[in-house]
Amino acid sequence: MPGTLIIAETADGAVAPLSFELLAAARALADEGAGSVSALVAGDESLAQPLFEHGADAVYLAPAGSLDPGYAETGAGAALAAREAADADIVLMGQTSVGRDLGPLMAFRLNTAVAMECLSLAIDGGRLRAVRSCYGGNANAEVTWRGDVQIATLKPKALDPLPADASRSGSVTSIDATGEQRVRVISTEAAESTGVRLEDAEVVVSGGRGLGDPSAFEMMEELSQLLGGATGASRAACDLGWYPPSQQVGLTGKTVTPNLYIAVAISGASQHMAGMAGSKNIVAVNRDPDANMVQVSRFAVVEDYKKVVPALIEAIKALD
């Protein structure tokens, strides 16, 4: 019986949280009849247990580093071998620096297609059916595969991981990564970020082109720091050079799902919504009552941010 293979990633030597979201997706497909769930991870045997606990039935171990960003050619070798060993006809991975390259490489080598950045997956007539966002989030597309193997990357934070179940276990098998690596990685460096990581922040304050002035981001930072959160920006503001691209929230930037997202002078073009629509509570500060961001908010202040945000900072300080 065929099954699902997920490509797990690691961060600082541990299984990355997105891998557990992939396992949750694979388990849901298994419940719909998609067969057993295997996971491929690069590193040592200590990585297997957390994968079992979050839903894997079998774990394949590739050499450490073979699924790092930039090593998609090596990673494809490992992933293709694991897929064959696991007899998987569905392969899931994250829409990450790894998955963006690995998904298409695997698809072209297996003569099949890949659906990128899927929002949800289902089994329909024994085959995978995926929903993905397109046209900058203006439309959703539902797709199916003609080829035997169905490959998809999943948008981060699209699904919640399953709670860990310490009683779960399974088999561990080592896999060689034999892909020819023609791209030579010289160096990898982390982006400089000040304070809380955008994707992990419980509060995000973002500014858009409507701020009208790059120095207004100091105000955004003051508010986000006061709330213990991170500062983001829309694509338009980043393209203008007002804020670093690493802090961009949106279709071509980061996906965030904080408890509180404060959007200042952001109209809510689909490009931006794609990166923050999963926020639990949205607050808009915008002069335009018809702005899309105001419509999707829980609370909105329809006023000039230059008057509202400094007063909000003082009002929050006065609360304590």
């Binding site: 963006r100 298409p104 490489l105 950045e117 203006n138 003609r146 791209v183 982390a190 999707v296 009002a315």
Partner: protein
């Protein structure tokens, strides 16, 4: 040095949501009235990258290829006006509504037909379907390596050094040419076509190649032969439950918001 740049004409991604419409039966986007299609926003950066390499080398030829309907000529003309040397339009009824696997196959055949290509540059994704699959597909079909999401690059002999953007940082890689590189928005502002160049571009030739010219098999093109079948296309529904925070002054509105947020235990 022979460089190919692949470009695409798409519906304007800044089209307001209120003017965006879908024909659900035909599974197609209905073009918004009065909003012309535009060059995919990442593509002028790919053309810019090619022109910078050509300028640095002091020689070379930049060929721009686009697969699409007749409006794709505008994407080609834009690249020619920036300074690209020749254009090729891949046009065939069998190219309508094909998927990125099929597009990559057609582009790869066209690049082989151009011949002796050292470097293929493309935007990191097209902003309509936003998959970013075609650059890797073209590379696989040509049997050459691919580096994605480049923010800068330098060519020294046959060695290309590329700085690429990762989710959480940057990476420097080297690759031997021929190779495919996809270019990101971080590459920097593309040059703006000057009037004289626009006039010159009008005189540059744009060849038109069909599926037959590319010697594609019958099952390699055509909407019915998609590898990723489009089952449905629709506009997702959003409901509004917004509470507008009132007040006699912006200061009072801000205070009321602070209290609402505290009541809801959000701060």
């Amino acid at each position: 040095m022979n460089i190919v740049v692949c470009v695409k004409q798409i519906p304007d991604p800044e089209t307001p949501a209120s003017q965006f419409a879908v024909d659900e039966a035909a599974k197609r986007v209905i073009p918004a009235q009065g909003i012309a299609p535009v060059v995919n926003p990442y593509d002028p950066q790919a053309t810019e990258a090619a022109l910078r390499l050509k300028d640095a080398a002091g020689e070379g030829k930049v060929t721009v290829i686009s697969l699409g309907e007749d409006s794709a000529r505008d994407a080609i003309k834009h690249a020619l006006a920036m300074g690209a040397d020749e254009g090729v339009l891949l046009s065939d009824p069998d190219f309508e509504n094909i998927d990125n696997f099929q597009t990559a196959t057609a582009l790869a055949r066209a690049i082989e037909k151009v011949g002796d290509v050292d470097l293929v540059l493309m935007g990191r994704a097209s902003a309509d379907w936003d998959m970013g699959v075609a650059p890797l597909g073209v590379a696989e079909q040509l049997g050459i390596p691919c580096v994605t999401i480049a923010k800068s690059m330098e060519l020294d002999g046959d060695t290309l050094t590329v700085e690429r953007v990762l989710d959480d940082g940057f990476q420097t890689v080297e690759v031997d040419t021929p190779a495919v590189v996809s270019i990101s928005n971080e590459f920097g502002e593309p040059r703006y076509p000057q009037l004289r160049q626009i006039m010159l571009a009008a005189k540059k030739t744009v060849q038109v190649w069909s599926a037959d010219d590319l010697e594609l098999e019958d099952d390699e093109a055509g909407e019915d032969n998609r590898w990723l079948a489009l089952e449905a296309l629709y506009i997702p529904q959003v409901e509004s439950n917004v509470e507008i925070i009132e007040g006699d002054s912006p200061e009072e509105q801000a205070q009321n918001l602070a209290h609402k947020l505290r009541e809801a235990k959000l701060i």
